[in-house]
């Protein structure tokens, strides 16, 4: 795993650093704001080259690339991700500050996806090609096809205040009046109110994929001989499904779980940006635009670690759900 990890960081480092664009020049032009806004400030430019060189030297960007990588890797092994170009703050602290937000958002949405999609998949598999199956399948795919940016913008315009309905807040994580001395129920209520739409929007396109996986893996298992045997024994259908079919058709879901772990911190750039949610997706997006190398590389490294870890966990879990899979000892 260690060589794989170092390989990943090397590729990440090179991609980031060989991409065109220069953080020092960006600062000389007054940051990202000038891109969308009216213009670059003349006065701030001064004798740009001298200033740019000073700035680069301050962050060691004037050294050869391999030296920079070596320094970065060395720091990495002491868990030091360096300091952000943006504000000289520790990148690690910046990540920790935003981590809870993203994890909360994504845990809820994964939960919603599983809670909706698995029953849906089971229903479809147990009633294959029925009217209900077709309707739910259609609905899931229609949702899957709705672009997230569009859905989120529509939601904001129509049900988040403005000229139509004000059912949900159009962004943020808490109300303006949110105070630490509020009673707990009020705090929870406020958070739920703010999180509801982002969570729904983050989950809806996952219904199709997940319920399809569930449906097909269940249908496969339903055709197995041992299911026939179970039915022949006279077990009630519910028992057959719950005990014999469900557990055996969970294998694909477990594999998918591995990819969820990095997704937990990767966050959703679109949702976090549209709803002004200060999570890691937003941080990553802004950092890439600003060429904030230390932050981008740290986020990249963390998701690499989580991916590797996720694969390990799902391998172990597979052995738990499926006795046929074992680590070397006992082959079928």
């Amino acid at each position: 795993m260690i060589p794989t990890f170092i390989g990943i960081t090397l590729v990440g480092f090179l991609i980031m650093r060989l991409a065109p664009g220069d953080p020092a020049e960006l600062r000389a032009a007054g940051g990202l704001g000038a891109a969308a806004g009216g213009g670059i400030s003349v006065e701030k430019r001064g004798s740009v080259d001298e200033a740019v060189a000073q700035w680069r030297a301050q962050y060691g960007l004037d050294k050869p690339l391999h030296v920079q990588y070596a320094v970065w890797l060395k720091n990495l092994f002491t868990l030091n991700f360096g300091e952000s170009f943006k504000d000289n703050q520790s990148v690690w602290e910046k990540i920790l500050e935003r981590l809870p937000v993203t994890v909360k958002l994504n845990l809820w949405s994964i939960l919603v996806v599983y809670l909706v999609a698995i029953p849906l998949g089971i229903y479809s598999a147990t009633h294959p090609n029925s009217f209900g199956d077709q309707v739910t399948t259609l609905a899931a795919f229609v949702l899957f096809a709705v672009p997230l940016v569009w859905a989120a913008t529509m939601a904001i315009v129509f049900i988040c205040g403005g000229d139509f309905y004000y059912l949900f807040p159009p962004g943020g994580l808490e109300s303006l009046e949110f105070a630490d001395d509020w009673p707990v129920w009020k705090k929870i209520n406020d958070h739920a109110w703010h999180l509801f739409l982002p969570v729904v929007l983050l989950s809806y396109d996952g219904f199709a994929g997940m319920s399809r996986y569930m449906r097909s893996s269940m249908l496969e298992v339903l055709g197995q001989d041992y299911v026939q045997v179970a039915r022949a024994k006279g077990l009630p259908e519910g028992m057959v499904i719950a005990k014999h079919v469900l557990r055996n058709s969970l294998i694909p879901q477990v594999t998918i779980l591995a990819s969820i772990l990095p997704g937990l911190i990767g966050g959703s750039v679109i949702i976090e940006t549209i709803f002004s949610i200060p999570g890691l997706g937003q941080l990553g997006f802004e950092s890439v635009l600003a060429r904030d190398y230390p932050t981008v590389l740290a986020l990249f490294t963390v998701s690499a670690v989580l991916t590797l870890f996720g694969i390990l966990v799902s391998d172990i879990l597979l052995a738990v759900v499926d006795p046929r899979i074992a680590f070397g000892r006992r082959q079928q």
């Binding site: 960006l26 990202l32 701030k44 001064g46 913008t153 159009p170 109300s175 709803f275």
Partner: protein, 592 residues
């Protein structure tokens, strides 16, 4: 299906619960204020202002930050020696007692400092703090190179007595007073508690950094790292809290030293909250739903659609003013095609600037013909404006030798012995819909006349690199202008083309160079105006840029605020207040 019904039920449920929980957010919509009655009266303190912010400030270090949001926030917290009168834009004293004494040789500037100014922690502000602030700027280890270049001509600063400071500059420069007056005064005891810079003098800091004592380096490192999120100064607002990506709060300092003093801004609002909403559509919705009070810049399309309902007009007042920035198309003057000024003139004749203002900006802008802010005395109103005139453009192109000799529909000419088609690329940056539309409008017109242009959209950082390295045929870009006296040396002097400075289009004109050099050392304002008028006429003839327009900015402010007024630099929330009867937010912990 089930999920759908459930969601609907949940929505209703949440509505009824939040109906009591968040009353204050909704209340204003039900009870529109009666601002039209203007029962204004005397300003009172209280209430908050919730300001829309497109993004967090990068950081709040007073010297190392270099973006517009940081400047906006820090402007409430820190104060400088001099400031500008918002109406006349004349320099006026703030921390200094008066404008500086300027010596005969125009090299030495002496400021007397007020003895009654205090920092927000109650400690008095003295000359020592001013001297420290200068040292911090000049300290090579402080990560503020972009600010430092501005002070390159400052070679020494010394205290004459505890409340008098004398600056020595390298060369006479008419903007020196404004530059030195712009020094923000930082509390030494807060930013340098160990007094590490005490023993080093300002003139020492200019020498080789390697020779400086270790404590200077130590100061630089501490200053860079420890003061990114906790500014402190002498201004009317204290920094209170910053929830990353959500909001930043400033609280009025009840013990502000300037309270009740003539000529000093009197703050009334108890809190200023900068709420981050990183998208304009969502921000407008939040404004309407009451969780924002003030949007500084509505998008042009939002001004025309979305803010014209009766309800909106009842609750918000829109203010229009010209934002001091101009957009232009820069032609690479070194490019074989654009070397000839007739081609550049033709390009301007082919740019339908009136149409661009009308359709791209929804009429919210004004066509300009020069680089100076429209309302400055230096701006030459008699400059000829190039109308949209394709016939004239084609005549100019023909005169310059461009003809379609091979019948491929594209004009061509033999340049340096090689047949060259009239083909070029306009570079723009992504994320700016207005600049893109400008390029596309021009593109359409050029195609009609046998000019094969194309548009390439690049990521902002990549775009900046190409511009800096002169790797473009044409670019659409904007410059911020100064509403006060400006110095165009950086943008137009030929030396700034060779050193990859801001003259990215490589404009070179001997007379312009001469004017720019004379201008910097000219202390007579009238003579400076004459110099710049000549300069503008040269630019107008040569068309190194096609100057496009000055956009109008439209701000929306909740009607409960009084004292809102449009100044040349825009709105000034520091003046605003709310009559007691209309106050929406109550500060629970009284500041006193």
């Amino acid at each position: 299906m089930l999920a759908r019904r459930w969601r609907f039920l949940f929505a209703i449920l949440m509505l009824s619960v939040t109906g009591c929980g968040d009353k204050s957010e909704v209340k204003v919509a039900d009870a529109p204020s009666t601002a039209s009655a203007k029962e204004a009266g005397k300003p009172v303190t209280g209430d908050w202002l919730v300001i829309h912010s497109l993004s967090d400030p990068e950081q709040l270090n007073p010297l190392t930050s270099n973006d517009a949001s940081s400047n906006e926030v820090l402007g409430f917290v820190l104060e400088s020696l001099l400031t500008r009168d918002p109406r006349t834009l004349e320099l006026k004293p703030l921390i200094a007692e008066a404008r500086p004494e300027i010596a005969q040789d125009k090299l030495t500037y002496t400021f007397r400092i007020r003895q009654d100014a205090r920092f927000q922690d109650g400690r008095p502000l003295t000359g020592e703090d001013v001297l420290f602030s200068v040292k911090a700027i000049k300290c090579p280890f402080v990560n503020a190179p972009f600010l430092r270049v501005y002070f390159n001509s400052l070679v020494d600063a010394r205290l004459v007595d505890p409340y008098t400071i004398r600056f020595v500059t390298k060369e006479p420069y008419f903007l020196n007073e404004s530059v030195l007056g712009g020094i923000t005064v930082l509390p030494r005891h807060y930013y340098d508690p160990e007094n590490l810079l005490q023993r080093v003098a300002v003139r020492d800091l200019i020498q080789d950094p390697a020779k400086l004592p270790g404590e200077v380096k130590k100061f630089g490192d501490q200053f860079n790292k420890n003061y990114s999120r906790n500014p402190m100064g002498s201004g009317p607002y204290k920094f209170s809290l910053w929830k990353t990506g959500r909001e930043l709060e400033l609280v009025r300092n009840p013990d502000y030293w300037g309270n009740g003093k003539a000529g000093i801004d009197q703050a009334h609002l108890d809190r200023l909250k900068f709420r981050v909403v990183n998208n304009f559509d969502a921000a407008l919705v939040r404004l309407k739903s009451g969780s924002l009070d003030y949007m500084e810049a509505l998008q042009p399309v939002q001004v025309v659609r979305g803010t014209d309902s009766e309800r909106f007009k009842r609750e918000f007042q829109k203010y229009e003013y010209y934002a001091p920035t101009y957009t232009y198309i820069g032609w690479n003057n070194d490019h074989p095609i654009f070397r000839d000024k007739r081609i550049r003139q033709a390009m301007t004749y082919l740019t339908n600037r009136q149409q661009i203002v009308k359709s791209v900006l929804f009429g919210l802008g004004e066509v300009v013909n020069g680089h100076i802010y429209l309302f400055r005395p230096e701006y030459d109103k008699t400059l000829p404006s190039y109308p949209f005139d394709p016939a004239k453009a084609l005549a100019l192109l023909n005169e310059a030798g461009w003809r379609d000799t091979d019948g491929d529909g594209v004009l061509d000419k033999v340049i340096d012995g090689k047949k060259t088609p009239l083909r070029f690329e306009i570079k723009i940056n992504s994320g700016n819909a207005v600049r893109k539309s400008v390029a596309l409008v021009l593109l359409d017109e050029l195609k009609k006349h046998g000019i094969d242009a194309s548009v390439r959209e690049l990521d902002w950082t990549i775009f900046l690199n190409d511009v800096k390295n002169h790797q473009f045929d044409a670019v659409v870009l904007g410059w911020q202008m100064s509403t006060t006296e400006s110095d165009a040396y950086q943008v137009w002097h030929s030396s700034q083309a060779a050193n990859k400075g801001s003259n990215a289009i490589s404009y070179k004109n001997a007379r312009v160079d001469e004017i720019l050099e004379l201008y910097r050392g000219e202390f007579d304002a009238q003579k400076r105006i004459q110099l710049y008028k000549e300069f503008q006429r040269i630019l107008s003839d040569e068309q190194p840029y096609t100057f496009l327009y000055l956009p109008k900015r439209v701000s929306a402010v909740q009607r409960r605020f009084e004292g809102v007024e449009v100044f040349p630099d825009g709105l000034r929330p520091v003046d605003w207040w709310v009559p007691s009867a209309r106050q929406k937010y109550v500060t629970t912990v009284t500041a006193n």
